[in-house]
Subunit: 285 residues, 4 copies
């Protein structure tokens, strides 16, 4: 596999951006292997993801960001992110007591499906330590009470920084994160909520779904913001139920949804295919 | 096709109900062609739908209801409904300006897919008169303002009674019915709401879905109760969208959902396969 | 609505195509309102769809095709198609006896959902004449026997040419078209097959699906080629069934699938969003 | 949890079966906690699954089978199976090189979701030994060549018998089982095929799907019979793809389908909710 650079950007739409950016790469002998762009015609915003091979690229990789900023980002008032395919994102998983999402992600990781490092698992309960051990991932227990929450989260943040964690996945972590952590990882914390948001925000969504008598249940993965279950949605899916399904059936059917919907979101994040913007996401192809 | 009787019932669950009811039919030489039952183990309620051919049935059809009430309904404290396959339900369609659900239902009706009569269409706007005329269904215009609503609904009710309407379908009827009509047709008014309830209750759900940035939109058919969009859900379905879909795309994709979800509900109602109970529905197979 | 030009093209992938084509439009003061491109990295083919407003475009619309061919198509060995938004495609519908797809398309047409003309309906049976009449579309009956097929199809072709038909939709037309018609409309005849192709090719797919005991049935819309049910697939969808569904249930559930899957394909075709290539389709967003 | 008996049966449909069977249980003081029945009106076959608590049941559990056979099975020419909820089925998993289905099942097993024993894993390749070890399940390697197949399968059968294996799951086991094993486990070997059967039978279905240009891919779990990929289908599901998906994308998207579709089938089998009949399955609710 060739090493590639991945560039995600958005800016006010104007004629010439696409030509300018592709020119920048081809003139400097980069071989474009991916390009997807999208214009929000309501907000008049241009979004783009482009990926090219670095092998023959004339600009040294450590200078690409600087050149691009100087030559194009200023001109077009761009926000942009630059990634390299040989630099793996570093992911921390937060869990509590339910294992299905954790197992699903660690299985993918172990099978080599994801281009990611998982240096650690954080939990507020000891229940899933055995899962971490099966896969040889360090497990850090931070029990949390009302009194200890601030102190524990401070320690968690230190641990995350020490391990240079770049994004966090809440795999049915049953504890609301405080702003301190959320602000440290903007659009970098992925949560799975076990309902079809915005229906059934908050606790016990399957019970609420059962009460309401819905015929379909869902799961939603989203970036965490300070407003509960209200951050930019990455992925959703649903499964059909009937009047015969008891709450336990909803919970069981929901587990499969949750793990698939969460893993799809994590995969897109790892592949650098998500651009969060104005509480929504652009998901590149 | 043989003429059949269809019996729907529910009652507190006890041993022997199923055997008693099937006995009642077979002993009297009825040939059972359908049976589905379900026990809600939380509420301890027994639900049943059974259908049998009347040809050799020893009890005259006009006396079945009386016999069944006397022999079983009292004993088991049953609520039950009895229908005959040669008595078609009589359906009124209420519309406003959007034609997709109306066209879909009239196409099925005209093709003979539904065992129903549609004696009339009611509207608060003249826009869809041409659709009614294409299919030869009388179209009754009742323009509604705040001032005229009570009087107009009174006239609508008279019209419905005169035509012996047994159930009403709101096919994107953009007017809230008042209690007078709702109370006259309990669990007999089917509405289509253009969202995945309980998400996006009320007006302009596609705009709200667009604002929230969901990745899937839905439609919900339900029986109308006095609380807006909160009645027993009959059927739901969803379709995937992306960030590329503008509000108009949501509206267009939603139309297909709406008409299919509404028609499925109407078909189940016509077939006498729905039992509404405690703000939920049991949908027999 | 502004008048736009829509350009679809494909060619061997090379650096600079995208920049060249977008330059061609922006330099000549065309306002790009849509752009989607895709590179098949296996075959090394570049595909593109671009749409721009003509109002300020410096090249007169009747000369665009010529200029584009001279300046770019030759250079890049492009195949391209150019359409204008104010020139409606002209669609003929072929039917036999089943009305659901026909009703669905005519309802959309009548509601103004589709930017298309439907000058005529062709049928080999008289059954659906009443549908054509309800919507005021001329109905042409061409009964077909083994002996008359060649002559009838010759007449059909004449009729199609006389009415400048640009594409044909087979809405459950139960007669195999001969090569003469297929060759006259390459990638311009859309069929709906009532199975999940390539499963259950040919006649009576619901019966075959029932026999096989599948748990999901499907429908497939595709362009017609001379090999039966083997042309480029445009759209597919499925619906879940159970052991309780008899063949008639499959047929009924399938009808909803068929009409939605067919209409989605027709809509994409009308919007000029399909590019057929090597027995596959590229469906632009 | 109370211990229950689960009875599955089918026989020619006659009046009185349902009443007789429910009577048998209630008269003997069994508390029915589940009942589902279905009549195939084409073949005139009655299918039933009934479950009752044993606590107060008057017939000793070791005599139930004998009593039921004598009193009812002979009278109605029934085929029936009787299970007890405290007797776990014993499952062997056969794998080759791909880990996703294996991980998914072992995660469920470890989390206690399934009422099953997994005494062993069989493989024809050593690749997944590490997975077995992570979960502490004995891993038995049986490399297979054309020459050794008969001998190795004989040993496998011995191993299965020694461990009293009641059913086998082929979790992407890339080796066709010979009749000897299939005959030893009729309707007791569950396979996952990575296509929407009957489309793309045999090897490399994703490659075939890519070639055909389908817009949806699927997975199918079925009981293994001696005809390849032709046994009774238990469960199927699909996922949407586009022209942008390369073969590797199909394979990756397919993995999620495969593991979910396989696990659903295994779960239904463990719960004794499947009745195979005439190359189809009845799946009780």
């Amino acid at each position: 596999m060739m090493i590639t650079a991945k560039l995600l950007l958005h800016c006010p739409d104007k004629p010439g951006i696409l030509a300018d950016v592709t020119d920048f790469i081809t003139v400097n002998k980069g071989n474009i292997v991916y390009l997807d762009q999208y214009v929000d015609r309501v907000e008049n915003i241009f979004f783009m993801r482009i990926e090219w091979e670095l092998e023959c690229f004339l600009i040294p990789r450590e200078k690409i960001e600087d050149y691009f900023r100087t030559l194009y980002a200023q001109k077009y008032e761009m926000d942009f992110q630059l990634y390299f395919s040989d630099v793996k994102p570093r992911m921390a998983i937060f869990v509590s007591k339910m294992s299905h999402c954790l197992f699903d992600m660690l299985a993918r990781y172990t099978a080599g499906e994801w281009n990611v490092e998982i240096p650690l698992i954080v939990s507020n309960h000891p229940d899933l330590q055995h899962v971490a051990e099966r896969f040889g991932i360090p497990f850090h227990l931070f029990p949390i009470t009302k009194e200890t929450k601030e102190e524990q989260e401070r320690k968690e943040l230190e641990l995350l920084k020490k391990h240079r964690i770049t994004f966090i996945v809440l795999a049915r972590y049953m504890q609301v994160l405080s702003e301190r952590i959320i602000d440290a990882y903007p659009d970098k914390i992925i949560n799975i909520h076990h309902s079809f948001l915005p229906a059934f925000v908050g606790a016990r969504p399957y019970h609420a779904a059962f009460e309401r008598g819905v015929k379909i249940i869902g799961a939603t993965s989203h970036y965490v913001t300070t407003e509960l279950d209200a951050g930019p949605i990455i992925e959703q899916d649903v499964v059909r139920i009937t009047h015969k399904d008891a709450i336990e059936d909803l919970i069981n059917k929901g587990k499969d949804l949750e793990k698939i919907v969460l893993s799809r979101a994590v995969q897109k994040h790892i592949e650098r295919k998500i651009l969060a913007y104005k509480n929504k996401t652009v998901i590149f192809s």
